[in-house]
Amino acid sequence: MAPSVTSAVVDDKPEIYEDNHVHDVYDQIASHFSSTRYKPWPIIANFLATIPTGWIGLDSGTGNGKYLPLPLERPGSIRTIGLDRSLPLLEIAKTAGGVIRDVVWGDILGYGWRTGAFDYAISIATIHHLATPERRQSAVQRLLEAVSLSHGRILIYVWAIEQDELSKRTVPSNSYSSQNGQDVLVPWVLDQPSKESHQPGRVLQRYYHMFAKGELPGLVIKCAEQMGLCIGASSDFSTGGYGVEIIQDGWERSNYYVELRRWQS
């Protein structure tokens, strides 16, 4: 039987907790993890298919780089640069899809770019690995700063508390919080137990913050307010302002997503 998801308590400084329960785990499981992550999710593939030719983008938390080759129907028409904290995953990402990719070893809370350098940014299944609401908000702010303030487009994906029926995960319901999400540890079985040698299997625990309904757009709005951005469609505001519009938000296969567009009126 597969080990199940358990509740997590962040009992250390968040950056140390993330080192132990996120970064170290990904470094150890990189190749095994990568072999299980090859199918792009439809909403993300569709988003990248609508990006105009000549645009440059950031994949913040690129993992094995599975989104770097997209859109497959016009390869090389846009360029996505992959950022990740795990060097073993970047070694895989740098040749994602059999072509050399641009990857950078860095932290999603760092800011190693000239401001507004990108036309678009995606952050898929990454922000949920940050251990406090403040750090998750900072990560969203980095994305809003990374893209063009007049046309930047952003897509963020995070794990939802609401898991679909096909998911193999069961979420503990004891500390269920409908508003604030839930901190959990998710096991990764690295080695199966061996019957001959009686060796137990090696299981590593990854930290996740599972998002509640409304929590992700809430984070975006809080962030935009702190940055002094108007929130809504540019046509609703007078000229001379800067803002961000939530184009869509929803749930897809156990994840919440939000699509944003920055504007200058």
Binding site: W55, K94, R101, D107
Partner: protein
């Protein structure tokens, strides 16, 4: 990979280092050339976003002097081919990049730039 397309976007992000923190300066580089698929539509769309002087300087630091000092108005095929080569076919495999302002050094190893900072260096 540190190609010049990536280099043209990177800036120093050490705490308090907010001006004159771009472009980072290549030092002690080992370069490899690898063919990449030419896509003129991508280049034409990307050109307005390039920091041109930074690109010309970076190309010189890695041994390429094919780009004109000013971005030409006429984007003919010869020019686009040179630009393609500079942006996408020169790979900095080893070396480092230094911030012109605070002199922080970002190492490049195995084609991957290390932009990680210690927690106390993050703004």
């Amino acid at each position: 990979m540190v190609r010049l397309i990536t280099h043209n976007l990177l800036a120093c992000h050490v705490k308090g280092c907010t001006s004159n923190n771009f472009p980072l300066e290549f030092k002690d580089v080992q370069v490899e050339l690898r063919d990449a698929e030419f896509n003129s539509d991508f280049l034409r769309g990307f050109i307005p976003k390039i920091e041109w002087k930074a690109l010309v300087d970076a190309a010189r630091q890695v041994g390429n002097t094919s780009l004109p000092l000013e971005l030409p108005e006429m984007l003919d095929d010869d020019f686009l081919k040179s630009l393609h080569h500079v942006l996408l076919e020169i790979h900095v495999e080893e070396g480092s990049m230094t911030c012109p302002n605070c002199h922080h050094v970002y190492p490049i190893s195995n084609g991957i730039p290390n932009m990680l900072l210690a927690e106390h260096e993050i703004g």
